[in-house]
């Protein structure tokens, strides 16, 4: 019997599930290997047990917690799909604001049904077996992780930084044009797509295991950033907001 996989989403933009669908032909080949048992965005129906669940989005409310626990209970391997699930993504920026005030500002009043907890990554609620970082995820990496799981070996993410892929792509260094970039401390695996597009790395894939904080901070400080600005730079996608410190 084919392994049964499911896709689930919580608070997020569903761009990661879309990136899976965007694999197009490869997605079709995938259907020969696995049975897609649940994928609410493009299919109806639910299932009782799953071999692998790919879960997108962060967890903000008790109902979401409950739904995530239920998914965990029926799943052998749970994979955090994308930045929101992995690190709470951009959602977590709200941690640095006063949520009540923000709600009042947005909705005109602090309606109780709008109350949310602070956005959390999945791993703060349930055990997460492995993760696919990025905002959005890289389709190729999704396939790599899925292949590894199907072959029964632990998936391995690159341990080196985006700089590596940037250099290999022969891209000019973002710092050379006077901009700053999180490439030196951010986990590779995206082929430096943002830098190729003329943007800078904003760290959506999270930090590498051992970011070299001291030299990196020194470089940012030499570029004229204050501590607050450096922290702000890290916060966009990195919940800890400690800037690797």
């Amino acid at each position: 019997m084919k392994p049964r996989i499911g896709f689930f989403d919580f608070t997020g933009c569903e761009g990661c599930q879309l990136s899976v669908l965007n694999l197009e032909e490869e997605f079709l080949e995938l259907l020969d290997l696995v049975e897609i048992a649940e994928f609410r965005e493009v299919m109806s129906g639910q299932t009782d047990s799953l071999d692998i669940a790919f879960v997108e989005g962060s967890i903000c409310r008790p109902e979401e917690e409950e739904r995530l626990r239920a998914i965990r209970a029926k799943t052998r391997t749970l994979v955090a799909l994308g930045a929101c699930a992995d690190t709470a993504g951009v959602n977590a920026l709200v941690r640095f604001r006063d949520a009540h005030q923000v709600r009042r500002h947005i909705y005109g009043d602090d309606h109780p049904h709008l109350a949310t907890d602070l956005p959390r990554p999945l791993s703060e609620v349930v055990r997460v077996d492995c993760r696919i970082p990025g905002c959005p995820i890289d389709g190729r990496e999704f396939l790599d992780v899925l292949q590894a799981l199907l072959m029964g070996r632990p998936p391995e993410l690159p341990s080196y930084a985006v700089c590596v892929e940037c250099k290999l792509a022969e891209l000019p260094c973002t710092f050379d044009r006077g901009d700053i970039c999180l490439g030196p401390v951010t986990r590779a695996g995206c082929a430096a797509v943002c830098i190729a597009g003329g943007d800078r790395c904003r760290g959506c894939r999270g930090l590498i295991d051992t970011p070299r904080q001291a030299p990196y901070w020194r470089i940012l400080e030499e570029a004229g950033l204050t501590e607050e600005e450096i922290l702000k730079e890290f916060r966009t996608f990195n919940i800890a907001g400690k800037g690797g410190r």
Partner: protein, 424 residues
């Protein structure tokens, strides 16, 4: 009879459908939006103008390009930055790409299963492989166009204030043009498929609202509706007001106290004459007329728009390549200001409005999202449609109501990111 469909499938984001009807009368009819509010306004506040577009893209994975385009337009207007014709052409091309991929995703993956009696397209992988392959092939065209122009299919990376931080190359554009032309038989087959679908008969008058520009609406400065709205985009808040309903984490929006519709059907109705020749051919093949008031005709309108965008993309690529792609010096943004801008996103008119302080930091942001505008109309339609379905039995009753919701292609992930309310 009471139905409650939790976590409605084949829509973007989370909503429950609750209908309570008895003795031929609908007592209650709600689209409960249960998606968690992400409070994007709080996230945006304090961001530097150069970071805003890339963060707002994260509001929605399906229409990230539209959010970026609306955001950049608002920022550029606020900071007084002009864009070149090359930039405008490329951004238009990007918008076409997004409409193509978003509409085809909805048509094939979300709508078609309803009409073929399947829970999704996947079980058809064996029996209707041609259909699935065609769906993937066509959707890929839209994605690849976004990828080539925006640098990535989801969340663009090559746009920046004032223009592009990285220009596409000529050869992939030529390649896309060739593939668009080669895909016309696939589009013909798609039109044939949709022409055969049995569309529920249901009519309800409502107000249709969209932007107006010289051609088919995409980046207009004027807001028009079938009820006589004619206002500049800057005044959108006096035309549209938002309100909070207890069963929704998304705000609802309305014009002058009534519900209205935005999106493909609104645009094709309001600007039918501006459609490309091929799109009009498709319209007649589908039996579509611009005076329809059937919300299910959103499907036809979407397919018509897809063909329109493909045809326009081919022309636009020709023009861009004939003009030659030239790297442009983009002036770095300076100072502050405030402005509003709107684009026609796949699901309808999308407004972004910003106030920047003089250091270029975002002080106040307001986004009005198409689905928020459609929510009230969806509920009004459900209310009118449900009584006609009582004889069909519970299952069919539920299925038809779900189909109606899906016809709107609501994007809940988007709609819960509503921002500042103007009447606070």
């Amino acid at each position: 009879m009471k139905i409650e469909v939790r976590h409605l499938s084949r829509i973007e984001g989370h909503a429950h459908l609750v209908v309570d009807a008895e003795h031929g009368e609908v007592r209650e009819c709600r689209l409960e939006i249960v998606e968690t509010p992400r409070l994007f306004e709080g996230i945006l506040k304090g961001l530097h103008c150069t970071d805003v577009a890339s963060v707002v893209a994260r509001i929605c994975g399906v229409c990230s390009h539209s959010h970026s385009l609306a955001s950049l337009a608002a920022t550029e207007k606020a900071l007084g930055i002009e864009t070149s014709e090359q930039t405008r052409n490329l951004r238009r091309l990007l918008a076409y790409g997004e409409i193509v991929q978003s509409h085809l995703l909805q048509l094939y993956f979300m709508a078609v299963p309803d009409y073929l009696g399947a829970p999704s397209l996947f079980p058809l992988a064996a029996a209707r492989r041609d259909l699935l392959l065609r769906a993937l092939r066509l959707k890929k065209l839209g994605n690849d166009l976004c990828q080539v122009v925006g640098g990535r299919a989801v969340h663009p990376v090559s746009l920046c204030i004032g223009g592009f931080s990285s220009l596409p190359e000529a050869s992939p554009l030529q390649d896309l043009r060739r593939r668009f032309v080669a895909a016309l038989p696939d589009f013909e087959a798609t039109v044939e498929l949709f022409a055969r679908l049995e569309i529920p008969a249901f009519e309800r008058e409502t107000e249709y609202l969209c932007l107006q520009e010289k051609g088919y609406p995409l980046f207009g400065e004027t807001l028009v509706s079938t009820a006589g709205v004619h206002a500049s985009v800057a005044e959108y808040r006096s035309v549209l007001s938002e309100y909070v309903v207890p069963h929704s984490t998304a705000k609802f929006a309305r014009t002058k106290g009534k519900s209205h519709m935005v999106g493909a059907l609104a645009r094709t109705r309001n600007a039918f004459a501006a459609l490309s020749p091929m799109a009009r051919t498709v319209a007649s093949a589908l039996g579509f007329t611009p005076c329809t008031t059937n919300p299910f005709h959103n499907l036809q309108a979407r397919l018509i728009e897809v063909v329109h965008c493909v045809e326009e993309s081919i022309r636009l690529i020709d023009r861009i390549l004939a003009d030659g792609l030239r790297p442009e010096k983009v002036q770095p943004p300076q100072g502050g200001g405030c402005a509003s801008a709107a684009v026609e996103a796949p699901r309808g008119t999308l407004f972004h409005s910003y106030v920047y302080d003089d250091r270029g930091r975002l002080e106040q942001a307001d986004c009005l999202i198409p689905t928020a505008q459609n929510l009230a109309n969806i509920e009004a339609d459900l209310r009118a449609f449900a009584p006609t379905l009582f004889p069909l039995g519970r299952e069919e009753f539920t299925r038809r109501l779900e189909m109606l919701v899906r016809a709107y292609d609501p994007c809940i992930s988007c709609s819960t990111h509503l921002l500042r309310v103007s009447f606070v």
